[in-house]
């Protein structure tokens, strides 16, 4: 099996979760109600934990250790989709991103738990249950808020419209796509996207929200190849601020 292809897959999985976990952690202490603050923090912790699990698989393939990989690379070395690096904005944007992202994530995990590459299959099988809660959380909120007050619907709709091009960017294919599909490692971005669309539509139909026309939406690609918005580098700098005081030290 092509190790480069597997590494490429692992990097995008890990980087997405590291960055989104980091973004979601920014809400701790600022949530709309105490209970939601707690729930959101748990999911942020899970995401960081998932990224660690994938960086550990990368280390097993000869990459450097997770802390160095996560805390010392520059933006152009990151493979996350641009969706996850955007600033949190208000809670409507964070919820919409969470909804769009986790509904894709669960499909990736379900597919990867059948992967022919056993280490990935093992990790995703184990962690699937956590993502299941993330999806339940996202869908419950979107169903509730998406059919509530005009104010809430407007907010969510505007965030949905803003986020959709970036969400499509999650499904940017890699040069190893065909290889991964043929070797049974991963079903590929097109398959994930098709399933994702059905699932998010099923939720959106239960609300007063409208999914923008995806045929006329230009996806924001580039993230998988290290092209990022201006928001990623400051985030990485902040993340590494203490670590970089002395990268050789044990913190």
């Amino acid at each position: 099996m092509n190790e480069l292809a597997i590494k490429d897959l692992l990097y995008k999985l890990a980087d997405d979760q590291l960055i989104l976990g980091h973004r979601n952690s920014e809400w701790t202490g600022f949530g709309p109600i105490l209970e939601e603050d707690i729930a959101f923090s748990s999911m942020a912790q899970d995401k960081i934990g998932h990224s660690l699990a994938f960086y550990t698989l990368l280390q097993d393939l000869g990459e450097t250790d997770p802390d160095t990989v996560a805390f010392t690379r520059n933006a152009n070395q990151f493979h996350n989709s641009q969706l996850v690096e955007l600033p949190n904005g208000e809670y409507d944007f964070s919820l919409i991103r969470h909804f769009l992202y986790d509904n894709a994530e669960i499909i990736r995990f379900e597919m990867l738990s059948q992967s022919s590459y056993e280490p990935i299959a093992k990790v995703t099988t184990k962690l699937k249950g956590e993502v299941k809660y993330h999806v339940l959380h996202a869908n419950t909120w979107i169903k509730n808020l998406g059919s509530s007050t005009e104010e809430a619907i407007l907010r969510l709709q505007s965030s949905l419209t803003e986020a959709i091009p970036y969400a499509l960017g999650m499904f940017e294919t890699s040069k190893f796509e065909q290889e991964l599909i043929e070797s049974g490692v991963y079903a590929g971005e097109e398959a994930v996207k098709a399933e994702w669309l059905e699932r998010i539509q099923a939720v959106i139909e239960k609300t007063d929200l409208k999914l923008p026309d995806l045929n006329t939406t230009e996806p924001k690609f580039g993230g998988r190849n290290g092209e990022h918005t201006e928001h990623l580098q400051p985030l990485l700098d902040e993340m590494a601020e203490v670590f970089k005081i002395d990268p050789t030290a044990e913190w």
Binding site: N144, V242, I245
Partner: protein, 328 residues
């Protein structure tokens, strides 16, 4: 996390003459037997008022206490620290949730408590009005402030009010993680590079004075205080807590070769008591009354969080819902 520093002032409810003597006797007998009081029981107004005040202040301290350490969530170095820091701050928010619920069983709603917090009407632990300048400050808070909180909370967990005890039991279990995590981080810094050592000593120097005020000034004993002790509302004196804290943690600081910035600090082997420079209680009073380095920011952040979340709460508010106090 929470210190003492409760000022148990006499109130208009101090006069127990207005309470039904038979009910009061039954209430006191129950506590004397070591039974807990539960929300549906009859209780004297003084008991109810003091508990609401104490639990509410404790809850506010948790939610405000999430802020100085929250400062370092996005910058915590490495996976291990980052995840633990997130979990720790999350726990503090969780503790606030548990404590507000316990206070609600006594009849004050969470809405009223949050309003009073934001409007500066009710207090929270004074230490959280000080800033966490560096990662090392956050480590000192995790270790020593939580250590202080455990001393206080372990005592209060044995108090007479059921919902508060239940909440504290769980809180103490979680604080045990905070304490170990904080200690672990401090030990890494103290035994690490010279830069790390310098950072942790500087943070200890900054935090020592607030830590010494954490348990509040010496109690003035009065019939009021005696009543609250008999009712197992107040479980240990502020000085007892401070002595216990010094006994447990000063040796652990010293064994790391760190210096406690108080030349007078030593244990008097004859009395078994720690001697120390008397904390600056004037500053304590000034800060608790609003004039500390971070008071305005702490409340502004809380206020903003409430405001920015208001649309979410408005959207899901069910006007037909009926608020019922939590049961236990």
């Amino acid at each position: 996390m929470y210190g003492g520093g409760n000022v148990f002032e006499a109130t208009k409810f101090d006069n127990l003459q207005t309470e039904d003597p038979a009910k009061l006797a039954e209430f006191e007998a129950r506590i004397a037997r070591g039974e807990k009081i539960e929300p549906k029981d009859w209780m004297p107004e003084l008991y109810r008022k003091q508990l609401i005040r104490m639990i509410e202040q404790h809850a506010h301290s948790e939610i405000i206490g999430a802020l100085p350490e929250g400062t370092w969530i996005t910058r915590a170095p490495g996976f291990r620290r980052k995840m633990a820091q997130m979990a720790k701050v999350q726990d503090e928010v969780g503790h606030a949730q548990l404590l507000y619920s316990a206070a609600e069983t006594l009849g004050k709603t969470r809405e009223q408590m949050l309003t009073d917090l934001i409007n500066g009407k009710s207090k929270y632990s004074n230490v959280f009005n000080y800033p966490a300048f560096t990662w090392a400050d956050s480590n000192i808070i995790s270790w020593l402030i939580d250590a202080g909180a455990i001393v206080n909370q372990m005592a209060n967990a044995k108090g007479s009010y059921g919902p508060y005890s239940r909440a504290l039991e769980r809180i103490c279990a979680e604080e045990a993680f905070h304490l170990k995590y904080g200690h672990d981080a401090v030990v890494h810094m103290a035994t690490g590079s010279s830069k790390q050592r310098e950072m942790i000593q500087a943070a200890l120097n900054r935090w020592w004075p607030p830590i010494m005020t954490f348990f509040g000034p010496s109690d003035k004993m009065s019939t009021h205080t005696e009543t609250l002790m008999r009712w197992k509302v107040k479980m240990a004196s502020n000085d007892e807590c401070r002595q216990q804290f010094l006994d447990m943690y000063v040796p652990k600081i010293w064994e790391l070769g760190l210096t406690v910035p108080d030349p007078k600090l030593k244990k008097n082997m004859e009395t078994g008591q720690w001697e120390y420079t008397e904390p600056d209680w004037d500053e304590f009073k000034r800060v608790i009354n609003g004039d500390g380095p971070c008071n305005a920011e702490r409340l502004a952040v809380r206020r903003t969080a409430e405001e920015r979340g208001a649309w979410v709460r408005r959207a899901l508010l069910n006007p037909k819902a009926k608020y019922v106090k939590p049961l236990a």
